[in-house]
């Protein structure tokens, strides 16, 4: 599904923040991406959701080489990847329902074709009663779940989550983890970036550990 070979990344003329990354993310796999703050987790996630291009090495996503990929094909690939941002990135002028439905709306689908699906998904993440609420009135946990629902709604093949439990209490963190596990069981590959060791201990999965720009993999 996704393959990195000798990938390096630097911002401008500075030193490499990621060095010689070589790994694969298989279909229907589950992994944690971890490491100390500043190790490059967010940079690697940005490479994974095509927000950055590597300064060297090969990145192959869904069988397409990023180095030769035309720009017009990027939106199509992005729709196959769901992203949960650390800061949620919900649009404040849209209701929870509209935020979650956004990936389907921008894909050009008619609302009547996805309305029921979005409502059921919101019920699944525990936001069934908050359809019309605007993000500013949602709690941190509710925002987190709305952001997760938005990442899931287009049925991505790969789900990336950046510190998805960083703003919630341990009980909600466990609940959110269960959502990801359930999603993984339904066939989606999941990458969760976190430095919450307690969370990782809850689920036995592959760990990608970034340290000083290099990746160590614990299967």
């Amino acid at each position: 599904m996704l393959r990195f070979e000798n990938v390096g990344l630097r911002y401008g003329p500075g030193p490499e923040v990621l060095r010689d990354l070589t790994f694969e993310i298989e279909s229907n796999s589950f992994q944690f991406l971890t490491g100390p703050s500043g190790a490059g987790k967010t940079s690697l996630l940005r490479l994974l959701f095509l927000a950055l291009k590597p300064t060297r090495g090969l990145v192959n996503i869904f069988g397409r080489d990023m180095a030769t990929l035309p720009k017009k094909d990027l939106p199509g690939l992005r729709r196959r990847i769901g992203v949960v941002f650390q800061d949620f990135r919900l649009l404040d002028h849209m209701t929870t329902y509209e935020n979650v439905a956004l990936p389907l709306r921008v894909a050009g689908r008619d609302e009547s074709s996805y309305r029921a699906e979005v409502v059921e998904l919101l019920g699944w993440v525990g936001l069934g009663e908050r359809l019309d609420a605007l993000p500013p009135v949602l709690s941190g946990g509710e925002k987190q779940r709305a952001a997760i629902a938005r990442a899931l709604v287009a049925r991505p093949e790969l789900l990336l989550a950046d510190e998805p439990t960083g703003n919630v209490d341990p009980q909600l963190a466990r609940r959110i983890l269960r959502l990801f596990v359930e999603l993984h069981k339904s066939g989606t590959s999941v990458v969760i970036a976190t430095h919450d060791i307690a969370l990782m201990d809850l689920y036995d999965a592959r760990r990608l550990v970034l340290h000083d720009g290099r990746l160590h993999i614990y299967e």
Binding site: K71, R105, Y203, D204
Partner: protein, 331 residues
């Protein structure tokens, strides 16, 4: 999987998983069709400010266009009126029968091509012309007073002043043609300078309008950067994102442009109405004689519409360019 995670109560299966059946379009708990809000928010503080900037700049540009059109029309009027008239002056001389000379000049002038009306000033009319300076009861036998014949000319340009001048020199001694050329040249030069100045001012105002609108649009777009980013990362195509902003900003541009344009048209109409009310009074009539009637022509109204369209399109295009610039920075 660890015991903890396995023991935790699982959420109900994700609805309509990839392998499961697709949900029906309408289910019992599906909400009623709701009107989805716009992707780009309809109103914001920066949006209101942009509309105000556009309205003010459109108003100023439209007023300038109207003023330039007024100056142009007045200048053209001066030129037209002065070109339509010329005068023959007959100087008195010993033994010259002035009435016969006037009649002869009138006869020559009538025969000249391009002269549509010949109006010799009689002794009485000439005396009336001089009355303010020389007083009443003027005696033509005591003073060597020249006589005038005024010629009204056609618009078709057939009038040949050189030919008439030659004919007068040949057949009417003491008569000279004053074709107003020197006065006309100066007046035309002044009128054209005024129009050129007006066009220059209009160009500057339009340039200032364009720059203000571009910067105000960019400012309003800065608040929407998050929206561009989110749309980008949920897989929206660049053209789709740009289209959303372009439509919203075209609407803002039209709103501001129409407000400014209509205010300018209102100002024109009010000024015309005020000028109409003064007709008949000596002061207004004198001003009318000198500067022409205060009336904004159709060109100015067309100009206002053009400015509104230009500013609306400019606002939309600027938002589109800004979106593409933001997206380029993201990729």
């Amino acid at each position: 999987m660890s015991a903890n995670a396995a023991a935790a109560p699982e959420p109900k299966g994700r609805p309509a998983s990839k392998t499961g059946p697709k949900p029906k379009t309408k289910t019992a708990n599906a909400p009623r069709a709701r009107r989805q809000g716009p992707i780009v928010p309809a109103s914001s503080v920066s949006g209101h400010t942009l509309v105000m900037v556009i309205a003010i700049m459109t108003y100023l540009a439209a007023l300038t266009a109207g003023a330039v059109d007024l100056v142009r029309a007045t200048a053209a009027g001066w030129e037209r009126d002065i070109v339509r008239e010329t005068t023959v002056q007959i100087r008195p001389a010993d033994g010259r029968d002035m009435n016969a000379a006037v009649a002869r000049v009138a006869e020559i002038a009538r025969a000249a091509p391009g002269v549509v009306e010949v109006r010799p000033y009689s002794e009485a009319e000439t005396a009336r012309l001089l009355e303010p300076w020389l007083g009443a009861g003027l005696s033509f036998s005591d003073l060597p007073i020249p006589r005038l014949v005024v010629l009204r000319l056609s618009d078709d340009g057939r009038f040949d002043p050189a030919a008439l001048k030659a004919a007068l020199e040949r057949e009417a001694p003491g008569a000279s043609l004053d074709d107003h050329r020197r006065f006309l040249d100066r007046l035309v030069a002044m009128a054209r300078t005024l129009v050129a100045l007006g066009l220059g001012v209009l160009a500057l105002v339009l340039a200032a309008t364009v720059l203000s609108v571009v910067f105000a649009t960019r400012g309003a777009m800065a608040g929407n950067r998050d929206i561009v980013q989110v749309l980008h990362f949920v897989g929206a195509k660049d053209g789709y994102i740009a289209g959303q902003f372009q439509r919203r900003f075209l609407r803002l541009g039209l709103k501001g442009g129409l407000a400014g344009g209509l205010a300018a048209i209102g100002t024109f109409l009010l000024a015309e109405l005020t000028a109409e009310q003064g007709v008949g009074s000596a002061a207004v009539d004198q001003m009318d004689a000198l500067f022409g009637r205060f009336q904004v022509g159709p060109t100015a109204y067309v100009g206002v519409v053009a400015i509104v369209v230009l500013i609306s399109v400019l606002t939309a295009v600027t938002s589109r360019v800004t979106v593409f610039r933001t997206l380029r920075a993201l990729d």
